[in-house]
Symmetry: C3
Subunit: 390 residues, 3 copies
Amino acid sequence: MTPEISYVIDTFFTLFAFVLIIFMVPGFAMFEAGLVRTKNVTAVLMMNTMIYAVASMAFLLIGYSIAFGSFGSDGMSQWAAFLFQMAFVGKVINIMSGGVSERAKIIPLAIFAVIMGGFIYPTVVNWAWGSDMLYGTFLDLNMYDLAGSTVIHSTGGWTLLAAILIIGNRKGRYTKTGAVRVIPASNIPLVTLGAFLLWIGWFGFNGGSVGSIASKENADAVALTILNTNTAGLAGAIIVGIFMQLKYKKLDITMILNGALGGLVAITAGPDLYNIYQPILIGAIGGILVVFAVPFFDKLKFDDPVGALSVHLVNGIWGTLAVGIFTDKLFLDQLKGIIIVAIFAFVSSYIVLFLINKIVPLKADDDVQMEGLDVNECGLEAYPEFKRAF
Amino acid sequence: MTPEISYVIDTFFTLFAFVLIIFMVPGFAMFEAGLVRTKNVTAVLMMNTMIYAVASMAFLLIGYSIAFGSFGSDGMSQWAAFLFQMAFVGKVINIMSGGVSERAKIIPLAIFAVIMGGFIYPTVVNWAWGSDMLYGTFLDLNMYDLAGSTVIHSTGGWTLLAAILIIGNRKGRYTKTGAVRVIPASNIPLVTLGAFLLWIGWFGFNGGSVGSIASKENADAVALTILNTNTAGLAGAIIVGIFMQLKYKKLDITMILNGALGGLVAITAGPDLYNIYQPILIGAIGGILVVFAVPFFDKLKFDDPVGALSVHLVNGIWGTLAVGIFTDKLFLDQLKGIIIVAIFAFVSSYIVLFLINKIVPLKADDDVQMEGLDVNECGLEAYPEFKRAF
Amino acid sequence: MTPEISYVIDTFFTLFAFVLIIFMVPGFAMFEAGLVRTKNVTAVLMMNTMIYAVASMAFLLIGYSIAFGSFGSDGMSQWAAFLFQMAFVGKVINIMSGGVSERAKIIPLAIFAVIMGGFIYPTVVNWAWGSDMLYGTFLDLNMYDLAGSTVIHSTGGWTLLAAILIIGNRKGRYTKTGAVRVIPASNIPLVTLGAFLLWIGWFGFNGGSVGSIASKENADAVALTILNTNTAGLAGAIIVGIFMQLKYKKLDITMILNGALGGLVAITAGPDLYNIYQPILIGAIGGILVVFAVPFFDKLKFDDPVGALSVHLVNGIWGTLAVGIFTDKLFLDQLKGIIIVAIFAFVSSYIVLFLINKIVPLKADDDVQMEGLDVNECGLEAYPEFKRAF
């Protein structure tokens, strides 16, 4: 294969992967909009839209050069390489914004998205995937993280944890006695649609992260990556389905879809390294972790309406460790990477969110929460003609 | 073109086709969820999710080797070849599950999906498309069925017929005098979204079934296949639109979308064999068949909330016969294939469903149907905040 | 690269672009269905479906040969080249149909779609993109319009203007004193989903319009085109977001999404000609134009429920002029192209719509509008079980 043919095919392939990831923009938007109450649906959609817009723009103007030094790519069009990386950045912040839904205000979170997309996330990328290392060699991560179990998912998760600590919980989520008040999802078809758009986006996310399809070996690696990605999602859904049926005799679809997403997060660190059966185990453990993590975080009173901590933080860690357990990558390198990213992502997000919160308060007032963020933040309702049952 | 270039391009192309087919997972889910009443929407979504999960897993662990003997593919990555075939299996079962919506329970149907995805469907594939024949040469099918008018659609349809016979109808669908009680679709945007996601998925389904794009001839065949697939869908929609307007002065969108799907099913046996005008006729007949089949099955009291018998069974047969009529493929080979698959799919499904029904009853009780399957099966409602008009 | 490899890759790439554009069919359908009142949702969905069906069929049977003389393409499969062009035609008419939603009847508009898809639009394509020129050389347009800021978007916009003049406004849109009565969108998640499906479709629209990816230069051009397309959309959303927040303290999501679409329309004439920063300016101006054009058209009492004039007509003109301002293409050639297309599209549409209106009235009666078009035109409601608040 001549270099030109390889250049053309890899450019095309990377644009294909980019487009699949962009399906995650409506994917996250629908998933999260379906999980919140009708009175907050527009605000969630607006948040998702603004995050895509401002984080991508910040990455174009600043972030990409922090992460990779400069535009440029030998094996494919530099613009395709850029687009692929740009598609990731909004996702990291979506993970966070979903978890503080129904009480976080849009403008200060959009300001945070600029800083996250322009500086914090690119720094993590530079350490893990970048061509030249910032801040000296002691941070030279040897962690294997193909498509970002740590770089994307636990970074987003740690940022969410910082945000929950600063913003606090939704009014009425926990009673005075500490009990959890169940707040049902308002639109299950949207949740399902969103979950499957995310699932499809994952094929581009992980498949594209192989970096090239333009050789027999790479074509095999890409196909294996997509196969293993899918298998882990299947396993996550199945195991949570079995668990729900055995324990509650009810197939809670939001938990089962989150189980699938948990499996997808877990496989993301090394889908190219496993045989075709290992993802069943990795995804199943990912699903089970979601089932136990959701009540665990509720016990800690970390209010997370969409289960993002359980899906992205817990499974981002699990998936990165799994590479150290099931392959010949060093467990300690994986652990070191997790810890360094955790410290950096949590501390830097905490500081930035803390400062933003001093200037533009992040949390909507109690009465705004009662009325719903849609009217106050966006000036319109999501479903104005549908009479509400409560 | 060197073998390596061809290998890379066909792997990439097959992954592209695979991804398009996976859009049919939310496609079927939205289509069916929009067609049922709000009280059964979550159950339909859950059913679609579980079918994708368990049938794909069964095909990975068992079914693929029954169908094709072993993993492996010369011209492309074996994993891409596997993923493409795996994407089909859930569709066959979706066809069935949609038709027994609003009264079939999820768990026993998921058990059936394992057997269907692991054994029944792979046997049909082995006969029609597999590399080595099971069960002796008398079943050596010479039927031409590029992307599965028979292998996918009428197999799913016969399975649905068996399921309807065993499970029976929705409570209240037919009055004591035998009249049909109209049960309106609850969410037309979802139906429309689902239909177009299915339509888009069909491009991957049929285009990918050409098997290779990596030569001038194959590139032409793939493009012609996608063009003809689309044309048949257009013709199905148009003819049903004209019919509805002339007969009822109302453009019933659910019937028109089913007309499009009927055209798409009908073209699926041989989209690569026709010139660019023949699909207009084949698709139009497909649409008209839907219009007449829907009341026909209602007269027989086969309760099918989504019209799956009319779309998939009737047009699966029509499409397979059409290849024998409009091309030089032998009509009798087509007919023989239809009949053998019909007998096998119907009988094996009937037996398996009958046995499952003895152990885990397939049908929800009348009072569960009255309350809606969502609360009973999934423990939550699809739209809990929207006040119901009835 | 051998001609065969290039042929295969460009066929595949063009099919990929085609599929992305087809996502605009549900994209437009969801976007417009979400923006209208619940009582007109089914009619909007039906209109979108019928337009795709009949306009594509008319283009297959008649329009393509008017536009391009004959089937045939040297560098790729002629069927892929056809499909790509066919995917455009429905979009032009969607632009129009959206703007006359909630009062235009489906059947006469479908008749118009046949003439638009078979004759009017293909004539514009012939002048701007066709291989041989109709009607003599004085119409030989030198306008640079890569993917149709003028050919698609302002053509659709001028057609819409003609349609609004003939059909008139929705009952109750303007009070007797001339004030605008606000009619809120009924389903914001659908609007958002639709907008992002359109956005994704744009990558195929503009990227595919480069015409080939099969060389290093072309691969770069395609990737740059997609990057710049995306950037203009980001800028449109951001600038409208900032404007809304500063002026109203409310992030009106429908305006912000229309701002993004305005940016996307504006970049469409020359995404391959700009550096990676110019689209920020072009898209931002596009967004601002939407913000000012919406009340401007309302002042003129041009009732446009989805903002299509502001998004497609205004920004189609702006985007085509921008090429003359920011690149070395001649401004006067751009202006001449805009004017010729404007005159032809407006006059021919006006005449055809006028004649259709004499035979089959285009506008639904006041009482049908009050009841909603769904029941009268389609015989069913979009959400029959959801109790309406008003």
